[in-house]
Structure formats: C-alpha cells, structure tokens
C-alpha cells in the first residue's frame, strides 16, 4: 500500500479521518478560548503558559496537527479535481431533488469555505500565537511565575474592528464547513445507521452552530467590553 492512496474511496477516507481529528482540535481550541471570558486574565494566561511549557510534547502535537491539515487539504483538493474532470460539460439547469438529498449550500461550498480557512489559519497563527510576547513587554505574573501575557495581546488585538469583522466572517464560514463536514466525515468512515445517521446529520447542524457562535462571540465580546476585561 503506497503512502498516498490512489483510489477514490481511500482518499476520501483520509479526508474523513483527518476531518475527525480537526473537529476534535477545534473543540479543545474553543474550550481554551472560553477562558478569555472568565473575567480573570490569569485563567487564560495560565492555560497558555501550561501549553507552552509542554515543550517537545506541544511541538509533536503541532506537527501532528499540521499533518492533519495537509492531508485534509490534499485529499479535499483531489476530490475537487476529480469532480471537475468527471463533468466537463455542466448542466444548463441545476436542481435539487429534495427528499433524501443532503445537497445544501454547505455541501456544495466545502472547497470554498475550506480554502478560506486555509488562508485564515496562517494569518491567525502569525498574529496571535506568534504575536508580541515577553520581549515586547507582554508580561504577567501568574502563580508567582513570570509568563507571557497573551490575554492582554488578544484583548488589544480585538480592539480593531477590522480584525473582529474578519474573524466573525471566517467563523461563520467555519460553521458552514462543519454543517456538512461533521455528518459527512462519519459517513465517509463507513458509519451508517438508519436511526443514528439522521441524529448526527441534525447533530452536525447544531454542532456547527455552537462552534461558529462560540468562536465568534469571543472577539465581539472583547470588542464590546473594550479594554475592561
């Protein structure tokens, strides 16, 4: 078995598998982000410091995460390229048959919402994770330890309405991506059940909404409350 599969089913399987990993990642990410709203800057800074002090373990996790992103993107691109090749002449009229169809705006824009996220992630990581730190004076004392005051930087960052607007927009697109992505990855991994499939199809919509709202509420909250928190 070659490292990169040639068959459509195997490629799609990789896409679903990495989708599961990335979904679990954003759940943890959101849980961490919510610490920004506790009212005590120490909570978020402590969490960020603990993550950073994992050292090699964190790097390993980050490399793993990057690999998941890469495999997810390449497998998705292969599905998209196959699609373009498989229908060179397009329909003049396109319809939706309704009934059992799960074809939605979300399912048809996965490549677009995915590419927006692909553009967003490096910008997001560069501006926050690799934003100003201890050397630039963002220092806090948590539990008697001198740590990076990431909390202050995030608050400062989201005083810019352009940042807030862009984050809100991208998080709405993330929700749109998850709306089809969550149930689709389960189906891709071969799990179908007459009662459970409708459950995770609907559950996917709820999950997408919760994640999008959860993520976009944070920059809005910070902006509205100003530098008070």
């Amino acid at each position: 078995m070659a490292l990169w599969p040639r068959s459509s089913v195997a490629k799609k399987f990789l896409n679903g598998l990495t989708g599961v990993g990335l979904t679990l990642f954003i759940i943890v990410h959101l849980a961490g982000n919510l610490l920004l709203l506790t009212g005590n800057p120490d909570d978020f800074n402590r969490y960020a410091h603990k993550l950073e002090s994992l050292g090699p373990l964190l790097w390993l996790a980050e490399i793993g995460l990057a690999l998941f992103f890469i495999v997810h993107i390449f497998s998705a691109l292969s599905v998209y390229v196959d699609k373009l090749r498989a229908r060179p002449v397009r329909y003049a009229v396109s319809g939706n048959a309704g009934g059992a169809s799960r074809k939605t705006i979300s399912s048809q824009t996965m490549i677009v919402t995915g590419l927006v996220l692909l553009l967003f992630v490096p910008w997001h990581v560069a501006s926050l994770k690799f934003g100003p730190g201890v050397e630039e004076g963002y220092v806090a004392i948590v539990d008697g330890l001198l740590v990076r005051d990431l909390h202050s930087w995030v608050i400062e960052y989201f005083q810019n309405p352009v940042h807030v607007a862009l984050y809100v927009l991208v998080m709405l697109l993330l929700g749109l991506h998850l709306r089809h992505g969550v149930w689709s990855m389960i189906q891709t991994l071969g799990a179908y059940h007459p009662r459970l499939t409708p459950l995770w199809y609907t559950g996917g919509v709820v999950f997408a909404l919760v994640m999008a709202v959860g993520f976009l509420v944070i920059p809005i909250w910070i902006y509205v409350n100003g530098a008070k928190i």
Binding site: M1, R6, S7, S8, V9, A10, K11, K12, F13, S78, V79, D82, K83, R85, A86, R87, P88, V89, R90, Y91, A92, V93, S94, G95, N96, A97, G98, G99, A100, S101, R102, K103, S107, Q108, M110, H180, W183, S184, Q187, T188, L189, G190, A191, Y192, P194, T197
Partner: protein, 252 residues
C-alpha cells in the same frame, strides 16, 4: 379525471453525435393529455418532427414500466424529473403545469459520453460489473434451492441493493458525477449474501478500481443520488462499500 388539454414548451438538448457540439432547441407541443407519460409526449413530438421531415429527438427507453433502467435524462436539473422513486417513463404530464417550459438534458458525465441528443453511453457501468460484479460458480446441475439458508432479513437487505436497475441517474445527479451509489449497490447486493463471501474483498477492490478508471468523480456525501434513484437505494450502501474497501485493503 382532468381532461383539459395541455401545452408544454420543451428546451431539448440536440447533439448530432459524440463529437458534434450540442445546443438547446425549443419545441412547443400542444393538445397533450395530462394522463400521458412524459415519454409518450416525446413520441408525439417525434411524430410531428418526422412529418415535418426533421430528425426526431433521440432518447432511450425500453420497458416503459420503470423496471429496465434504459430510460433516463435530466428534467429541469433533476435526473428522472420531479417525482421521487420513479424513472422518467413512469412520469406523467399531470406533474407539469400547462404552458410550462421544461428543460431536457442528457445525463452529463465524462464517463457517460453523449451518443446523440438525450442518449448517453453507459457502458462504463458494464465494465465495472465485468470487473467484479459477479460470483464465480462451478457449472453443472443447478444446486438445491435450500442448500444455503438465508434469513429473510438478509435476503431483503440484499434485495434492497439488488433493486438497482443501473439507469445511471445517481451519476447524473451527483454534483461530482460519482458512480458510488451504483457501485456500492452492486457490491452490497453480493456482500450481504453468503454466495458473495469468497470473492468479497477482491470484488470491492476491483470494482472501485474500475470505477476510478472510468473517470467517475469521488463521493462527497451530497446524497442527491439517493434522492433521484428510481429504486430509492440508500447511501447506506456507500458506507458499506467504504467499510468493505478498507477491510479488503487491510487484509491485502
């Protein structure tokens, strides 16, 4: 019964052969009975065209009772038209409005090249079947009917998949032009029965490989295939195909 006559405006894809560029031609057919089938309406149009010395609109049909899988084209963007669970030959004009404009296009996929007008070449399906959609049995006298006992639920599940008539609407409706529903139905039909077990792994690997070779797209779980399938075949068989494929790959 509604005996009012109807008129339909048809925008039909006309293409002389696989190489020629196609285009839409507008036809108006009058004095139609709402109780006519959609294909009977095309028969009426073709009679008129023939009388005028024009070439009739080519379309496939055979049994005209929804069981052979020969007919099929796309009506207003939906394969087999607006009614669920039926082929285009089982569609009646009462499902359309008097004076409506209806667009007729052939199934569009690289794997289904247009032969003429609304007729496409679906032999890619035959090649997928030839790659593994069978069981190997020794010749000789017919085996005893009850030598292999099959529970009724198993027989019914296998029959749900075997109901596939290979019309190709799943490919036509799929935004990716994927043949996953057809291929998975054929794989599942045999995978669910004891007779299909000896070649189960080989079958799924070979049929998927042939499907990819025929230039069908990949499956993105849009589920549009299930919605247009005249036999209401569920995408649960696509999930089964994926499980079987993975199992076969790991066992290799």
């Amino acid at each position: 019964m509604n005996k009012k006559k109807m008129t339909l405006h048809l925008k039909i894809w006309r293409q002389a052969n696989a190489q020629a560029p196609g285009r839409f031609v507008l036809y108006t057919v009058k004095d139609l009975s709402p109780d006519m089938s959609f294909l009977e309406m095309l028969d009426v149009l073709n009679e008129e065209l023939t009388k005028k010395g024009e070439l009739p609109v080519e379309f496939d049909s055979d049994c005209r009772e929804g069981i052979c899988g020969t007919c099929g084209f796309v009506i207003n963007g939906v394969a087999h038209g607006p009614r669920r669970g039926r082929t285009v030959c089982q569609l009646y004009l009462r499902d359309f409005q008097d004076g409506q404009t209806v667009t007729l296009e052939p199934f569009r996929a690289k794997a289904f090249p247009v032969i003429k007008d609304l007729v496409v070449d679906r032999s890619a399906f035959d090649r997928i079947m030839a790659a593994g959609g069978y069981i190997s049995v020794d010749t000789g006298s017919a085996p005893d009917a009850n030598s292999i006992l099959i529970p009724k639920e198993v027989a019914e599940a296998a029959f749900d998949a075997a109901a596939c008539i290979g019309c190709g609407a799943c490919v036509a409706a799929c935004p990716n032009a994927s043949a996953s529903l057809f291929v998975s139905a054929k794989i599942a039909h045999l995978a669910l029965l004891p007779q299909g077990q000896p070649e189960r792994h080989r079958r799924v690997l070979k049929m998927v490989a042939q499907m990819d070779k025929e230039n069908f797209g990949n499956c993105s779980n849009h589920g549009e295939c299930e919605a247009v399938c005249p036999k209401n075949i569920s995408i649960k068989y696509i999930a089964l195909m994926r499980r079987d494929y993975l199992r076969a790959l790991l066992a290799k």
